[in-house]
């Protein structure tokens, strides 16, 4: 299975005028976690993906998608 996990975190965060630290506070995680998820370095758990989507006020499939 070659699918990777893509995300629109950067664009959605910018749309809401949130910094990585501000989004981290809304989600309740470290800024490093947001940074690594946004840059595709870390694949979030289902729980974390849902929490990020909720903090951005979007359905999870709008924030994360399968690549490839």
């Amino acid at each position: 299975m070659a699918d990777g996990l893509g995300n629109r975190l950067n664009a959605l965060r910018a749309e809401r005028g949130l910094t990585q630290a501000a989004l981290a506070e809304l989600v309740g995680v470290s800024r490093k976690t947001i940074n690594t998820v946004e840059n595709g370095v870390f694949v979030p758990s289902a729980l974390l993906a849902l929490r990020i989507a909720r903090a951005l006020g979007r359905p999870v499939e709008e924030v994360f998608f399968l690549e490839g």
Partner: protein, 150 residues
């Protein structure tokens, strides 16, 4: 729930940890030059026991820092942020590297022991050093990468 100040503090401490751990791993490895020369010379002087004691203390501190994340005196909300999903994943990868390095070191020492007698204390010292240094170095480098681009 973490507030903005906790997130800022955790970010600062996490960056510090990412900078410091690889340096500690290198210091830890560089101490081994003294250990090897001590073995060659016999190593029964008081200074040799001090060096071994220093190695033992640093080994325990590094092991605890690696397995718990460190910063034990900070409040729980900050420690939780310092031990988040990414840190745990990086720690898991670092532990795998440490395990692999220890196994390879064990195999190498086994082969050496076929030709040259190696004492149990020396074997334990070398395996702890190899495994711990590899794991701490990898953890530090992964943490540094996690902070890049933010």
């Amino acid at each position: 729930m973490a507030d903005a100040s906790d997130i800022e503090t955790a970010d600062r401490l996490s960056r510090r940890r990412a900078r410091i751990l690889p340096v500690f791993a290198i210091i830890f490895l560089s101490q081994q030059a003294a250990f090897i020369s001590q073995q060659v010379e016999g190593g029964t002087r008081t200074v040799d026991h001090v060096k071994t004691g220093a190695w033992l203390i640093l080994s325990i501190v590094l092991l605890l820092a690696l397995t718990t994340g460190g910063f034990w005196l900070w409040r729980k909300s900050v420690r939780d942020l310092l031990d988040d999903d990414v840190t745990r994943a990086n720690r898991g990868a670092a532990m795998r590297t440490g395990f692999l390095a220890t196994m390879m070191g064990g195999i190498a020492l086994y082969l050496i022991a076929l030709f040259e007698p190696v004492g149990g204390r020396e074997v334990a010292h070398l395996l702890v050093t190899i495994g711990l240094a590899a794991a701490v170095l990898r953890f530090g480098l992964l943490e540094r990468r996690a902070h890049k681009g933010g």
